[in-house]
Symmetry: C2
DNA sequence: TTGAAAGCGTTACCAA
DNA sequence: TTGGTAACGCTTTCAA
C-alpha cells in the first residue's frame, strides 16, 4: 500500500493543470461551461495525481450531501431487500446515495439511527412503519427534509407515505380461506410491541374473522421478530396441541409459514388436505416450497421505486411537487396449492 | 412539517448558552474537559434550539468521517447479512457508521461503488472477495486507508484479509460424500465471470473429486448469480436428464440446494436414499427443510466481527497494530439427514 | 469561459 | 476549564 501522506486536493490539480481551482471544480462535473480543451487537460491532471473528489467538503459547501437516509427493520429480509433494490435502482440516476440502517424492529434503535443519520444532513429520510419514539418523531418532524414512512399507512403521517394496509392484506387471506370452505382458522405471529406491521396483520385477521362470524380464538402470538422458520414450527406445535381441529392457518410471514408447514409435514399432516397454510410477503421460498405456499404480494420492490420517485419529485427544483401525500399500494393474494381445495385445483 | 429555513449551528447554541462555539463542541462529546455546569447549560440550549451536530463539517475539520465503507455482492443474502450484523455490532461501540453498497456480483459495479465511497473519505474500506477491476484495485491500493478483503483468501491481498478457502469448503463436502459411500457425485453452480467464490468452490470440488479418483463430469454451471432456488431446481432437472445415475450432489449455496432437493422430491426421488444433497452457507432454510440439508458453515457473522476488530485495531492510535494480515476462518461441515446413510443415522 | 473572494460548520491547536 | 484563530476542501456568487 503506497503511503499517501496527503491526498491531493483540487488546488493540486489546479496547479498541475494551470487553471484555478474553481475551473477544476466545474470541469469535474457534467453540464458545466468549461471548454473541452481545459476539461481534458484537467482530467489528465486529476488522473495523474490520483485525485478523488472530497464529497464531505463538497457537501458542506453546497449543502447537498447526496445522502438519502433509510431505516429498515432487518437487513436479512427479502422483502426489505427488494424495497432497497427498487430504491437504489431509481436513485442511481440521481447520484444519490443510500445511507442504510437497520433497527432490529426496535424503535429505540430507530431513534438512535435517525439521530445519527440526521447529523449527516441527508436530503431526505425514509423510515419503515409508523411506530416511532416521541423523540424520534419530533426529530423527523423538524429535520427540514422530506420524510417518507413506508410499508404502512400511518394514521398521522409525518410527511409522505408509500405503503399499504396490513390489515387489508390479512383480510385477503381470510376471505380466501373462507372462500375455500375453511372455517376453523388460526393465525401465528404479530408481536404488538415490536412488529407493528405484523400486529396490524393480526388485527386485520381478527376483524375479518369476526366479519365472517367465525371463531377468533386460534391465535398464537410469536416471539419477538424477526419471526424465523424455527419459530413458525414451534408455534405450529403449540397450535396443534391446543387446537388440533384447525383447518387453515395464516402466518405473519412466509418464513414462519414454511416453518409451520414443515412442522405439519413432520407430524404426518398433509397440506392442504389436513390443514391449509398461508403466508405473507411473496418470498421465493413460498413459491418453491412443496407444496407452494399461498401468500400475499405487496410488491416490495415497487414500494422502494415509488419512494425514490417521490423523493426525486420533492427534491427537483421544478415546483411540480405533488401535493399527494399518501401513495397506496394494493396487496395481492397469490393463491397456491398450500390452501387450494383439490376440487378447485 | 415545521418549515425550518435554517438549521441552528453551534454558534447559535454558543450564543444562547453564553459560551464560545469551541466549548459547545467540547461539551457535546464525551470525555472532554468541560465543567458539569457548563455542559448542562449547553445541553439545555442545544435541546431548546433543536440543534443537531453537522457531521459533514465535523468530518471535514477533523478528517475523521466515521464512515466504514463496505461492499457486498447482494443485500438479499443471509450470509452477507450476517456478516454485516457482526460488523455493525462491533462497530457500534466505536461510533463508526457503515456505508453499505451491493455490487450484484459485478466488478464494474463494485468499481463504481468504491469510487463513490472513496469520495466520502471512509476511514477504512471492506470489499467482498478478491476479484476487482484493475482500476478498482488501483483505487483501493492508493486510497490511504486500511483495506480489507473478506469471504475469500486472495493470492495477492491488497491489505488485510478476513476469509476462508472456498475450495477447502467444497473439499469438506466431497470428503463427506465419499465417507458416506457415494461415488457418482455432481455439482451445481459456480459462474466464473461473476461469482468467484462459487467458482472457487467448484474448482475445489473438482480437485477433491480427482484426489479421490472419481469421475468429474457431473457438473452443471449455473446462471449468473444470485443463484436462486428456482435455478437450483432447473439445474437439477438438467442434471437428472443427463446423469440419472447421480448419487450425491453439492450445490453452490443452500438456496440452490433447496431448489434442487424440492425438484427431486417433485420427481418422486427420496432424499438421501435416491440422491444425497449438500449445500453451502448454513442458512436457516437448510436446517428447517425436510429433510434438513447438509451444509458448510463459514460463520458469516464472525467474519464481520473479525473485520470490525481488525479495523478497530488498525485505527486505534495505540501502535499495537497487528502485523497479521490474513485472518483465516475454518469452514465446518454440518452433516444432516439430506446426505446421511440410514445406517449412520 | 474563467477566476477571486467569501463562506459552509466544525475541530485542531495554542494560549489564557 | 475556556476561548480565539486558523484551517478543512469545496462551491456559491459575483465579476471579468
Amino acid at each position: 500500500m503506497t503511503k499517501n501522506p496527503k491526498q491531493p486536493t483540487m488546488i493540486d490539480v489546479a496547479h498541475l493543470a494551470g487553471v484555478s481551482p474553481m475551473t477544476v471544480s466545474r470541469a469535474l462535473k457534467p453540464n458545466t461551461s468549461v471548454s473541452e480543451a481545459t476539461r481534458s487537460k484537467i482530467r489528465a491532471a486529476a488522473d495523474e495525481l490520483g485525485y478523488v473528489l472530497d464529497s464531505t467538503a463538497a457537501g458542506l459547501s453546497s449543502r447537498r450531501t447526496g445522502f438519502i437516509a433509510v431505516t429498515i427493520p432487518s437487513i436479512n429480509n427479502a422483502n426489505f431487500a427488494d424495497t432497497l433494490r427498487g430504491l437504489t435502482q431509481v436513485l442511481r440516476a440521481t447520484n444519490m446515495q443510500v445511507l442504510l440502517g437497520y433497527t432490529d424492529y426496535d424503535v429505540a434503535e430507530e431513534e438512535r439511527l435517525v439521530e445519527q443519520f440526521l447529523r449527516r444532513r441527508p436530503e431526505a429520510i425514509i423510515v419503515t412503519g409508523h411506530a416511532h419514539t416521541d423523540r424520534c418523531r419530533r426529530m423527523l418532524e423538524k429535520c427540514g427534509v422530506p420524510v417518507i414512512e413506508m410499508w404502512d399507512l400511518p394514521e398521522n403521517p409525518i410527511g409522505q407515505v408509500v405503503g399499504f394496509s396490513n390489515a387489508q392484506a390479512a383480510k385477503l387471506m381470510v376471505d380466501h380461506f373462507v372462500g375455500q370452505g375453511y372455517r376453523k382458522i388460526g393465525f401465528i405471529g404479530g408481536d404488538p410491541s415490536r412488529d407493528t406491521r405484523g400486529q396490524d396483520r393480526r388485527q386485520g385477521f381478527l376483524a375479518a374473522l369476526e366479519a365472517h362470524g367465525l371463531d377468533t380464538s386460534r391465535m398464537i402470538a410469536a416471539q419477538r421478530p424477526p419471526i424465523t422458520m424455527r419459530e413458525g414450527a414451534h408455534s405450529m406445535r403449540l397450535m396443534l396441541e391446543k387446537w388440533p381441529d384447525i383447518e387453515a392457518l395464516m402466518c405473519v410471514s412466509d418464513l414462519s409459514a414454511f416453518g409451520a408447514m414443515t412442522e405439519c409435514q413432520r407430524q404426518g399432516l398433509r397440506i392442504p388436505d389436513d390443514i391449509a397454510i398461508g403466508g405473507f410477503g411473496a418470498y421465493d421460498l413460498a413459491e418453491q416450497a412443496l407444496p407452494p405456499i399461498t401468500t400475499i404480494d405487496v410488491s416490495s420492490e415497487n414500494i422502494g421505486r415509488i419512494a425514490a420517485q417521490v423523493i426525486q419529485n420533492l427534491l427537483s427544483s421544478e415546483a411540480t411537487k405533488t401535493s399527494e401525500t399518501i401513495h397506496r399500494i394494493e396487496p395481492k393474494l397469490l393463491a397456491r396449492d398450500s390452501s387450494l381445495r383439490h376440487t378447485e385445483r
